[in-house]
Subunit: 436 residues, 4 copies
Amino acid sequence: MKHSLPHPDINDLTMSEKVRPLLDKVIRHVRDNCDPVLEEFQSLDAQKSDRWSWHPRQLEIMEELKSKAKKDGLWNFFLPNAETGEGLSNLDYTYIAVELGKNPLASKSLNCSAPDTGNMEVLERVGTPEQKEKWLKPLLNGEIRSCFGMTEPDVASSDAKNIHTRAVLEGDEWVINGEKYYISGAGDPQCKIMICMVLTDPDAEPFRQQSQILVPMDTPGVNIVGPMCVFGHDDAPHGHMHIKLENVRVPKENILWGVGKGFEISQVRLGPGRIHHCMRSIGSAEKALDLMISRGLNRQAFGKRIIDLGKNMETISRARIEIEAMRLMVLKAAKAMDVLGNKEARVWVSMVKAMVPEKCCQIIDQAMQVHGATGVSQWSPLSEMYTKQRTLRLADGPDEVHHNVIARAEVKDFQSSNDRQSAMKNTLGGKLFEGP
Amino acid sequence: MKHSLPHPDINDLTMSEKVRPLLDKVIRHVRDNCDPVLEEFQSLDAQKSDRWSWHPRQLEIMEELKSKAKKDGLWNFFLPNAETGEGLSNLDYTYIAVELGKNPLASKSLNCSAPDTGNMEVLERVGTPEQKEKWLKPLLNGEIRSCFGMTEPDVASSDAKNIHTRAVLEGDEWVINGEKYYISGAGDPQCKIMICMVLTDPDAEPFRQQSQILVPMDTPGVNIVGPMCVFGHDDAPHGHMHIKLENVRVPKENILWGVGKGFEISQVRLGPGRIHHCMRSIGSAEKALDLMISRGLNRQAFGKRIIDLGKNMETISRARIEIEAMRLMVLKAAKAMDVLGNKEARVWVSMVKAMVPEKCCQIIDQAMQVHGATGVSQWSPLSEMYTKQRTLRLADGPDEVHHNVIARAEVKDFQSSNDRQSAMKNTLGGKLFEGP
Amino acid sequence: MKHSLPHPDINDLTMSEKVRPLLDKVIRHVRDNCDPVLEEFQSLDAQKSDRWSWHPRQLEIMEELKSKAKKDGLWNFFLPNAETGEGLSNLDYTYIAVELGKNPLASKSLNCSAPDTGNMEVLERVGTPEQKEKWLKPLLNGEIRSCFGMTEPDVASSDAKNIHTRAVLEGDEWVINGEKYYISGAGDPQCKIMICMVLTDPDAEPFRQQSQILVPMDTPGVNIVGPMCVFGHDDAPHGHMHIKLENVRVPKENILWGVGKGFEISQVRLGPGRIHHCMRSIGSAEKALDLMISRGLNRQAFGKRIIDLGKNMETISRARIEIEAMRLMVLKAAKAMDVLGNKEARVWVSMVKAMVPEKCCQIIDQAMQVHGATGVSQWSPLSEMYTKQRTLRLADGPDEVHHNVIARAEVKDFQSSNDRQSAMKNTLGGKLFEGP
Amino acid sequence: MKHSLPHPDINDLTMSEKVRPLLDKVIRHVRDNCDPVLEEFQSLDAQKSDRWSWHPRQLEIMEELKSKAKKDGLWNFFLPNAETGEGLSNLDYTYIAVELGKNPLASKSLNCSAPDTGNMEVLERVGTPEQKEKWLKPLLNGEIRSCFGMTEPDVASSDAKNIHTRAVLEGDEWVINGEKYYISGAGDPQCKIMICMVLTDPDAEPFRQQSQILVPMDTPGVNIVGPMCVFGHDDAPHGHMHIKLENVRVPKENILWGVGKGFEISQVRLGPGRIHHCMRSIGSAEKALDLMISRGLNRQAFGKRIIDLGKNMETISRARIEIEAMRLMVLKAAKAMDVLGNKEARVWVSMVKAMVPEKCCQIIDQAMQVHGATGVSQWSPLSEMYTKQRTLRLADGPDEVHHNVIARAEVKDFQSSNDRQSAMKNTLGGKLFEGP
């Protein structure tokens, strides 16, 4: 981390004037369109014959929301500085992500759901015209959904060099064999395409061995074994699926950007996605804090409101401090992506990724404790909120991988900074106490 | 807490010689009888038509285990210093509880499951001959199971004075109305009797308002609304049920010990039960540590075994230290129950209850992190182990209630100890630095 | 805390363009003027006959630094939006405070030392023309120094209502009796004036009982008993003095602003001062991190650099994350003081005051651990840095008081926000799962 | 760590019957002989012309205490199972160490001070008859004192293989050159002998390179450079000295046990010494807790006793829990040394060494916070208590080294335990859930 400020505007975390009306429209869309239909939408889950499908009325509700959003000009604004969509800056998008975090239907109704946003960004940046026509266009139209095949069960995929799923070129086709798990969204019947990370050249240098290939979900050999659960939840019909790829054959042209570019493409996609997750996490922490306060005010024990017992007020204060600190860090990371070169911003992204879900878990856990047994039950959203944040500490690289990125950057900066090193020499050089 | 040792043997935490052969028999029973049938037993869950029932083969397996246990003289040894059963001391039972924690079928096969053990202890201590004949006898024979109706959804039941479920004497019958939740074991079709905490006299002094009444589960008005989930798990068919009591009528004689004795009976039951939980919790932490080590040794990332990365070795060391400290604390609390009066032991029980589940949660959480995404999935027992420990921080009084018990005892001891107070006067009286 | 942004610019944490040249001048002043003389200045401590005095050469060095600073136009810029001095905004001053934190002579050489800055601000805001002529003028000229008499040994002065030092009007004089301690700067022979918090009207309503009175240090009855030490350090000749006020008589006109205004004046002074402390704390944490890295890179144990052992890299990462989060929080609190009304900013100030010193203590402590025994010795600045931060957790209100301010504001905001409350109702309204 | 109990008595932590009268005598000695003279002894510090000396009256007081102790048969009982002295078991000695921790004169008055106890134990175990006659005898008589020269400033001495101080045999003499620091007790004018760890054979295998040599303090070339301070304290006249060894020549026979035995001797000495430290640390934590309660009961703020504010009661509870857990762990480690082979006990010693000082620091720090500014001042013993515990986290191997010992033992035990490994296979063998 540079101690000097590397860009004059890096600390201007203000939303841009031109996006403020868009934010207002999003707020109104969530409040006026999404909120009123949420309860109906969720209650339909119980009426489905197959939990891995959508109820026809659910599809209908979503289409109505989408058409309202499109009419309001709220569509595809996730791509930063892109020709397609609104081309919001990461900073501006961050403010909007907070609002999207407030209703589980909101993101999808604006075509801003994970993992589609990352997939669309990748296709937009490195896709061929044919790839864009075939997959990006229906994705941008919200006609289909997509997934990203990265994590594998048999290796520590936090180290991308471990990827074992093998793609071999046979004539005009890639033949793919391997096993993936935690493939989010692959359970959705609308999911039609997977961007799949594969090993194409085991003999190349470490970061040139992987490629990313477009694999239509209906290709023979793409076998969904079942859902991975998270603390017992299967998140149907979205799902985090366990998939075996057995002699899957796709055309040679389905490769993205080129052979050996797999790792490089990952760098493109991961920054913004992680930020979006973290901003929604902050929304989750806000909600946990409100639940904590609400419960604390409305329950009595030992003759006092629970909020007035023991350390509860300090817990509330610490939660508020951490939430504000997280919010500023996420805004700064977004701004860093906007104004700095990739290298510096990468460390900022790792900082929020390593910081936010861990602290959110703590805040939600404390809210649970204030709720007593209800806090872990289905009568409260807290346990589901907790499991989501807990999982984020493992997804897109576990905390430890990000801490390593940050620490190595820090040490390197120290080693290349004459100022920092010479200050150390002055500190330790003299002042030795000699003689009683 | 007294600083002086209040009983010459309080620190002798050795298992008694006479129980050692029993422990060996239990170890063999778990290993030779329970372990071989566990997989079959659990796989039968998927074949049941109603998840709130037992599969006929499951019942058969359990009966076989029970008869083997009885033949070996392993039956009902949970009651400390009792005429019934083996009459083990709490300390000796603690050593056995570790072994029972290793197989989920073990406790039941020896008739030592919660909440039956607590219920049987209460019936044995304060039941009338008629109550013992009708309910204790079949419980001791393992023919029926039981539940304990304490917690209520609408009040903070950590404060027993909040109990709202009302029992009114009408002629020869108690008429009961109210709502209970988290009634563990009430989902089991074998559960025939509930000991129910009720409010009998709102005008009495605070600790004389409650009574405990025997309520057969098939009494009209005992309506099971559904299961309470814990992080999404319903723990069927055992279950933690939500129950409404609507004009439930039971005979006058079903009261336990006497009107207004409800709080006093609770004191009897809670000590040993909490200790048993905590000893099994330590078994759970041991298992988490083994899973952590096993995973750390068998996975590679960034060219190293995961166990050799970052702080993982220190995490293992800290887990081992905490486990040994917890083990000694639980043994000491058990010994305190054996040799001290109730008052002092009550603080020891609160100490382990406030200490153990919180630390176990941390250890299991760290094991999860080492496992990556698998750690939170159904491929690992860790998430279920976590939710169990997390729930224990709320059951039988949340941590905060126990900390309050401990702190008040500590302050009271300070105030009544001339030694402690006069030492403080010496410390702060003099030594004022006066003048530069 | 409002969730909506209460001012359009509140998140613009950029330094103003016009102040950038001033910052550059400060950086050059510290580097070119202060740094070269520091070693000589500190070594003179050992040559003084009386440690509660300045060595003549020390005074000479300081006068040279001051005249250089004045020539460069670097003088008295601490007062926000003031006619006197540069009138920097709090935000801009925050950036400068970082640089001042890098050399212990820097603040004084620019006449920006505590507690003089707070005292000058108070005199500038509420002093009479006569008070300003007599005390503010020589303070602004750097001719004398001052102290602030707040804390008392016999009461918890974190609660201002506890102040016991009594001032009684007798004719044209205030007669003051009481005891103060931790009066920082009162050991300096240049300290000529104390602003003293006194109890003037015990019968008034709680926040109208106190007044602040100007007490010249040479008034008979102002008896310095000795220094208070902090972890054994007396910080001579600045000192944190223990003072008895025995029948001290000062003219009636020495009261500030008016009788009963004592508490109100405190509100004026405390905000900026706390922020300045916290920004210098961040400088201290940066230095600790650099020491940690430097030591870790330059020592070997068990065949590796210490930095590569165990959790050290993660410790570095976590320190960097916390430092950046603290920096942003301090900048935001400064901005809040600039653009918001006092009430909201007060909570932001409490947030940084409760957050920063505690986290800095942790970071410095970790740096110590990496240094081994040298870390706690006089060969490293770490132990002195630690004690300074540890003391800040108690000065200007202990952490607990600030957490209380924050939590009460949070609860109040929740209670007055329809949005936050109604969202809770939706969340908890239904008991979602009913029946098995 | 073995899960099975490796020795039938390992959990019997009861003091032996025969030692109980001795404990009573020690309690009376501390209360009746040491306590009444402490204030006079400490006040004499201010009257000494040279702070690195003893006041004649101080020497007189100490001699009186010693003769009283000898008359009572309280002398040299620290050696476990030794012919010399009482030969207490480690467990019994642990109970006595608690009492010795209550008065700073107590240990010395019974000839049980560090580092002499360790030095005497080493001499008793491995000294030649001549060495015993010359050094052990006057040490056992309390006529002289001693120090241990281990730590070096230029290397991480936590790794004994780093020792650089070189001893070369020239004819009949060892010639020693090197630098040591933190040599505790070397400031005392009564300190006559140092056991010095040196490098004798750099080409031997790692643990055969070091030796320990007896170096009389008055040997030419033993130059005390000055004291090392700890958070600013120099602990005169005991002192933790910085010593340069320049061409120091001692007779060949001064080697202990033999060339290359240095590391092996360290193993002998470190166990009991670490335990003694830790037991006194627990005494320190007890005192901090009493100070916390006493202050909390006697101060008011915001209309309540401080003890009733915020989290203070929970802090008290957590301190009590941790203290009891630490006490049991220290007792168990002492017992392990008594009944197990060295290898297993070594891990127990590391467990208490890594556990106790860290937790004591936390407890003392919390007591400080409750005291406000007085807590860090010379009016309270807390800051000195803190620095002592903080230093213990670095002495005799920093926490990290002990965690490493523990973790490696744990992993090794896992790897060699069929039970632990096969249980893991059962747990992870199946991927339980396959298919939606």
